[in-house]
Amino acid sequence: MTGWRLHADAPPERLAAVRVLTGAFALGYLVARSPQLLALRDRGAEGFDGVGPLAWLDNPVADEVVTGVFAFAVATGITFVAGAGFRVTGPVFALAVLALTTYRASWGQLLWFDNLMTLHLLILGVAASADAWSLDARRRGGGRDRRRATLDHEYAAPLRLLCVVVVVTYVIAGVAKLRYGGGEWITGDALANHIAFSATRLEVLGGSASPLAHAAVTQAWALPVMAAASVVIELAAPVAMLGGRWRNAWVASAWAMHAAIAALMFVVFPYPLFLVAFAPFFALERAVSRLRGTPVVRLGSRRGERP
């Protein structure tokens, strides 16, 4: 990456690394959430209201459809990560995840945990994400045929788009706080009440609230500072596109914000908290190469950086 422009150029391994990381996360997430996803089969038609791509759906689908789409998603998720038949399995896995997460969101409760992951999968699924570190690349082998097949493939542009999606998402979240809460959101009791609400809701449902919630609510002077910080972090997201230290500082700040939310409210946004959401901002292939003690294994594409 150059000093001021993120992903001015990128080798196929960089996009492939994001494919592997995001695909593995999504696959693990589906498996971990399988009880909740498969339990949707037991829900009746009341309360169902299709949203987004399923807005046309008036009633729940048959149980077999939910089971089938889930199984299909897991199977294509494996091939997505492995980069096998990616021209088909890439977009198919992304669409299967979109279908499942949209279906779950169609029961009257939008939770915002899955949006960024799903949008990233859709972009990765149609990009040349399996030109490296994949079974497809291994099957193509080296030589002129491989170079010809991947000659006009873009790697930097999809990476930048993945980053743009992250940036725009966070800016929208910051705008929402000012739009719906106004300046009072920063100076008033909004954050204290949100923290107290999360703790109380958890306790009355038999859970245990964060021990930090009591401290946060009683130390009222700290909350406007935290509220201002969260809005600044969200609205400042575009600086990450500058790369370098700006990117590092913003990613660290955004991660810290999510860590604080998890610590205070026990509300976890796993995709950014596990740093997968921010993976597109970094030259992950260099980290892998350093770990392996080898230079970046290039495909011989005319694009790409020196190892």
Binding site: E46, T102, V175, N193
Partner: protein, 150 residues
């Protein structure tokens, strides 16, 4: 190579950004395109919280768990689901479901539970976190017996 092919990713970027911003322009939250309004709106100190509790033979109430109440470890899902059920008038059915879970796997609450109450508790959440008196009102939406284990 066509102009479109050459600039396909720039075009895609413009379209994706437009799609992301569209919910903001329309002020309409959806999925996967959203206005991301989490925690954005002011929340009052007094709120109504749906819950379910177990009742023992002496009439004392005992907190149940997220899994027993809603079959999930996610409080957002359990609370939202229970609120929707009460709003739809399905509180009796939900009470029976919870009672069955308790019968199948009795919680370790000391006294055996003989009944379930689905209730809405109105609380001052800041007072609750400060361990002060917080209960403003309590409305029982449904009560049902815990079936005996076979």
């Amino acid at each position: 190579m066509s102009w479109f092919h050459t600039h396909r990713w720039s075009i895609a970027t413009v379209l994706v950004v437009a799609a992301l911003v569209a919910p903001v322009a329309l002020d309409r939250d959806s999925y996967p395109l959203s206005t991301y309004p989490m925690y954005a709106e002011a929340r009052p100190r007094e709120v109504s919280l749906p819950t379910a509790v177990g009742v023992d033979a002496g009439g004392d109430t005992h907190r149940l768990s997220l899994e027993v109440i809603g079959g999930s470890d996610d409080p957002l899902i359990v609370a939202g689901d229970l609120r929707e059920a009460i709003a739809r008038g399905d509180d009796d059915d939900r009470c029976d479901e919870i009672a069955q879970r308790v019968a199948d796997d009795p919680p370790d609450s000391g006294q055996p539970l003989v009944a379930i109450e689905v209730a809405v508790e109105r609380r001052d959440v800041v007072a609750f976190v400060r361990d002060e008196d917080s209960l403003v009102d309590r409305t029982v939406a449904a009560r049902c017996p815990v079936p005996e284990r076979p």
